[in-house]
Amino acid sequence: MVEMNILEAVRDAMDVMLAKDETVYLMGEDIGPNGGVFRATEGLQAKHGVNRVLDTPLNESGIIGFAIGMGLRGAKAVPEIQFIDFIFPAFDQIVSELAKFRYRSGGQFTANVTIRSPYGGGVRGAHYHSQSPEALFAHTPGLKVVVPSNPYDAKGLLIASIQDPDPVIFMEPKRIYRAFKEDVPEGEYTVPIGKAEVVREGTDVTLISYGAMLHVAVEAAQIAAQEDGINCEVIDLKTVYPLDIDTIEKSVKKTGRVISVTESPKTAGFGAEISALIAERYIEYMEAPIIRVTGYDVPFPFVLEHDYMPTADRVLDAIDRVWNY
């Protein structure tokens, strides 16, 4: 075991896989000598070689298209998009190509590509260094979307993603990259893709979240317990798509009250999918409205960022609304 923060865990996952599997390649802007703008790839080029860790020209569709080509030819490609806000130039390569290759070729051609990218607000990054577009990828059959919330999962899920033959969008919560450390096993281990975890058991209200927002949900749950004696169960989805319906089912049938906490704009965000699944499958268990705590439907702001982001306060208000319904 080594104490690591999320950033170190991510780096360690890549280091382990580069050492273990010579078909693993990294590519991205500034990931070489600069070690990535967040230093996620620090030292990896020096250690594993300039052929395996590629600084790329400034073109995201190029990075992903190139990674797809490597994947088709047998590599496990792990491209980095510097900020997920810059993934949109690559959108066509991701949704038209990466997501559909296996299907359109009748299973003949596949590309094992794991797209890593820091996402999310709370870092004073404004419009273009703050977004959280998981809903767009969750609407794209063929992709998996993984969002860890702690160092142990970050490493285990990233290794699992690199090994997974299907394409994965691996979203790293940059707001908590360095927020806390945890014991993380050395070497190779995996955390299963597609499995959620109940990180706090409870009986009254189910909070569903992932990534950086998970911690906001947990904070709210703690306060609700302390201050109001409301006992929230908190689910960390970990994999947003395809999500773990069983864990959700069990919890919401128990509590009958559900709140999702996600940070992207509300309309057609991933919280909508959570609400819709529940309203479709378990509505008879619901004892209150199904609430979404989200970012607002505006471009990500700058100075008003704090008011834009879901906070424990806002979650507590939602808890109050469903509890006292």
Partner: protein, 355 residues
């Protein structure tokens, strides 16, 4: 512009005739016949409503010369008019025909528009429909090929319209930077559906684009299969020697419509088409083979007959086959079927059993 064959099949003054075995030359012609037979049959089937769509290769058969310059384990990323390259590699016509009918034997499992097919066993990549996306993918594949199997090269085909695409820009650029052994083949047929090349780019020649990426370029008569073969050979050589990518502009013309949905009379003159018909790559190559005594009227007729019959038979068989099973709607989205697709599959079963 590189050129070897005159229209009458003689060797152009000053050009050197490549030294290629007769058998190989005949194979090229054989594949040309297959391609053109498929075009003739395909459009008829489409008009009869028996298949949904047809994409034409007619006029662009000299691309087979590029395939011939590669080893069989080099990868090919086609656009959608390079069936000849697949057939050159030995793809059975049966597979093509089953694909056209999108039946249960279609390797694509009936998921694609007819004409958009790939085949893993011959490293012939399943093409997209969004234009240009394969270009940068080919760069990545060629880079991986260089890493995993030094000396391997990758060829990628695309149209003149595709040179405007984003993935052209990054594809050629990345290849230049990494010295990846990619052979970029622009089949410049001078139209992107209705848009003529002058509306596509102000560059004098498509090959000029290579300069901006630091990649050597070559312009070649795209209706001259010998010249196509020669420039590709040189590009392959460079690639295998670690000298990086090459850009080839093959100047050609599509003699048919863009696809079965297109009416070219809306945007080009009959006269142009007639002029280009005179430069037909098959006729020119046939003249060459005839001059050399490799092909006779009789052997040629026999070839056409053979494929006419064969394809007719394959069509008859393919048409009888059922469509792919319902489960193929859900498989291959992921390697394993997730819960929600299992659920959705159950739902479909319910409705189709109802029908």
């Amino acid at each position: 512009m590189r050129k070897i064959l005159n229209l009458d099949g003689t060797i152009k003054k000053g050009a050197e005739e490549p030294d290629i075995p007769d058998e190989e030359l005949l194979k090229w012609y054989d594949v040309m016949v297959q391609v053109r037979t498929l075009d003739a049959k395909g459009i008829r089937l489409q008009r009869q409503g028996r298949v949904g769509f047809h994409i034409f290769t007619t006029g662009q058969e000299a691309h087979i010369g590029i395939a011939a310059a590669l080893n069989s384990d080099d990868w090919i990323f086609p656009a959608y008019r390079e069936h000849g390259a697949a057939l050159y590699r030995g793809l059975a016509l049966e597979k093509v025909v089953n694909h056209l009918f999108a039946n249960d034997r279609d390797t694509q499992k009936g998921r694609r528009l007819p004409g958009l097919f790939g085949e893993k066993s011959i490293n012939f990549v399943n093409p997209s429909a969004p234009i240009g996306t394969q270009i940068v993918q080919a760069t990545g594949a060629s880079y991986a090929g260089m890493e995993f199997n030094p000396g391997e090269v990758t060829a990628v085909f695309f149209g003149d319209g595709a040179t405007s695409s984003n993935d052209f820009h990054s594809g050629v650029n990345f290849a230049g930077v990494y010295k990846a052994p990619t052979i970029f083949v622009c089949m410049n047929n001078q139209f992107a559906i209705s848009v003529p090349i002058e509306k596509q780019t102000a560059a004098e020649k498509i090959v000029d684009k290579a300069v901006g990426y630091g990649v050597p370029g070559e312009r070649v008569d795209g209706n001259d299969i010998l010249a196509m073969y020669e420039v590709a050979k040189e590009a392959v050589e460079r690639g295998r020697n670690g000298e990086g990518p090459t850009f080839i502009e093959a100047f050609t013309y599509r003699l048919g419509p863009h696809t079965s949905s297109d009416d070219p009379s809306r945007y080009r003159e009959d006269e142009d088409v007639e002029n280009w018909q005179k430069k037909d790559p098959m006729v020119r190559f046939k003249n060459y083979l005839t001059n050399k005594g490799i092909l006779t009227e009789d052997t040629e007729k026999a070839l056409w007959d053979k494929y006419d019959k064969l394809v007719n038979k394959l069509i008859e068989e393919a048409d009888k086959r059922p469509k792919p099973k319902m489960e193929t709607m859900f498989t291959d989205v992921y390697e394993e079927l997730p819960w929600h697709l299992k659920e959705q599959w159950e739902e479909v079963k319910y409705f189709t059993e109802d029908d």
